[in-house]
């Protein structure tokens, strides 16, 4: 991951950020990341609700899908999953 280096003449004024953080892959921090056993998932959405990193994508119907490019591996989802459908596995 390299951050673009822009000179002062080309930077937008007022020091406003010009890139979305989604371009910054915090998934590189993770030692463990979630693996979901779809057969156990009851689609309650708690993994989505409790993720501090907005990592889960959930359409409200199917199994939530974690964005592993950004998941830091905290494991809250695995702890809070009521059916233990999430296992944290070493990356």
């Amino acid at each position: 991951m390299s951050t673009p280096m822009v000179g002062w003449k080309d930077l937008p004024m007022a020091a406003i950020p010009f890139l979305s953080a989604r371009e910054y892959p915090t998934g590189e921090w993770a030692v463990f990341q979630p693996k979901i056993d779809e057969s156990k998932c009851v689609r309650c959405g708690l993994c989505w609700m409790y993720c501090p990193d907005s990592v889960y994508r959930w359409d409200g119907e199917g199994v939530p899908v974690p964005d592993l490019d950004h998941c830091k591996g905290c494991g809250i989802c695995a702890t809070e999953c009521p059916t233990k459908a999430i296992e944290m596995v070493r990356v």
Partner: protein, 329 residues
């Protein structure tokens, strides 16, 4: 003063909306398991209108806006540590004036119908920012001020604040040979805010997401300033396991260390699990269950320091009794 129709958040619908709008984008640099990361998402989920977000200096500010990146897909402004409520006052006043003057009414690129949310940590709220919040509340600016309380100056390396609890180890209240952790109790921040006569104040534990979202929404709907005290587990500063963040948020409520309640026009009302504990005192768990998951309290479990746990429990019991009385139990 608060709208009577109760909003019932639907988790499926919330997920679909967040999937489209993503107010807080992934890729911020909050620690793994940070409670504040959950709080900022829940605030955005509970919004009834577009938001303008004002942030005090602190973990959230630093970690979400490391130049050239931003995690914010809502308009967002950070000025300094102690003045977020004053900045919010200015935004709210400007919005009001520009809207009544029909400014930008011919500019399809500008939206003026929004709510102002101001977010500060415990440092920015209990301590350095207290004056500007008091001023903003006295002036009745229609802002929702949310305190995410991780109980110390985490951003600068875990120094104690007015929100640090009794006994906690921080880098400025170390566990020494003579003084062990913080010898003082938390400042009663809710009482201070409620004393301003604001129409809405509440405590929130993000673990009880439904309760939290309804309160954030009521804060937005309040006819005047609203204050929400949100409990924010900090794995780094508390010495807790990142995966236990939500578990600790639950235990804080179950032990009455952090009871859930709201104050609507001065009337106290318990909410969530705090109601059932009030009705069935047996359900109140001992504070040890909360303390033992956190390294910052580890020294209190040594036999010679057991008095500290007792003192902690005594304080919690007393606070809880006061709250029960206020809530009519």
């Amino acid at each position: 003063m608060v709208a009577t129709a109760v909003w019932r958040p639907d988790i499926k619908e919330l997920a679909r909306v967040e999937g489209r709008e993503r107010p807080v984008e992934s890729g911020h640099r909050l620690c793994a398991g940070c409670g504040a990361g959950i709080i900022i998402r829940q605030i955005a989920m509970a919004a009834r209108k577009p938001l303008v977000w004002v942030n005090a200096t602190g973990c959230v500010e630093v970690a979400t806006t490391i130049f050239p990146y931003t995690s914010w897909n809502v308009p967002w402004a950070h000025n300094a540590f102690e003045n977020a409520a004053a900045v919010g006052s200015g935004v709210e006043a400007a919005r009001k004036k520009l809207a009544r003057s029909n400014r930008f009414s011919d500019d399809p690129d500008v939206e003026l119908d929004y709510d102002v949310i101001v977010l500060g940590g415990d440092g920015g709220t209990y301590d350095i920012g207290l004056q500007s919040i008091s001023g903003a509340f006295e002036r009745r600016h229609k802002i929702l001020y949310v305190l995410y309380d991780n109980e110390a100056y985490m951003n600068t390396g875990i120094q104690r604040s007015g929100g640090t609890p009794f006994g906690a180890r921080t880098t400025t209240t170390p566990v020494g040979k003579v003084i062990k952790g913080k010898p003082l109790f938390k400042k009663p921040i809710m009482d201070i805010m409620v004393a301003h006569g604001i129409p809405y104040a509440a405590t929130v534990s993000p673990a009880y997401w439904n309760d939290a979202l309804v309160k954030f929404r009521r804060g937005f709907e309040a006819d005047g300033p609203a204050f929400i005290h949100a409990f924010s587990t900090c794995p780094l500063g508390w010495g807790s396991a990142p995966e236990d963040t939500v578990k600790i948020m639950k235990l804080a409520v179950e032990t009455c260390v952090f009871p859930l309640y709201e104050v609507v026009d001065g009337e106290y009302r318990l909410t969530g699990p705090s109601v059932s504990i009030a009705k069935n005192p047996d359900r109140k768990k001992p504070v040890e269950e909360y303390l033992k998951l956190q390294g910052r309290f580890r020294h209190m479990f040594k036999p010679e320091n057991k008095w500290m746990i007792d003192k902690f429990q005594e304080w919690v019991d007393k606070q809880w009794e006061v709250l029960l009385k206020r809530a009519g139990y």
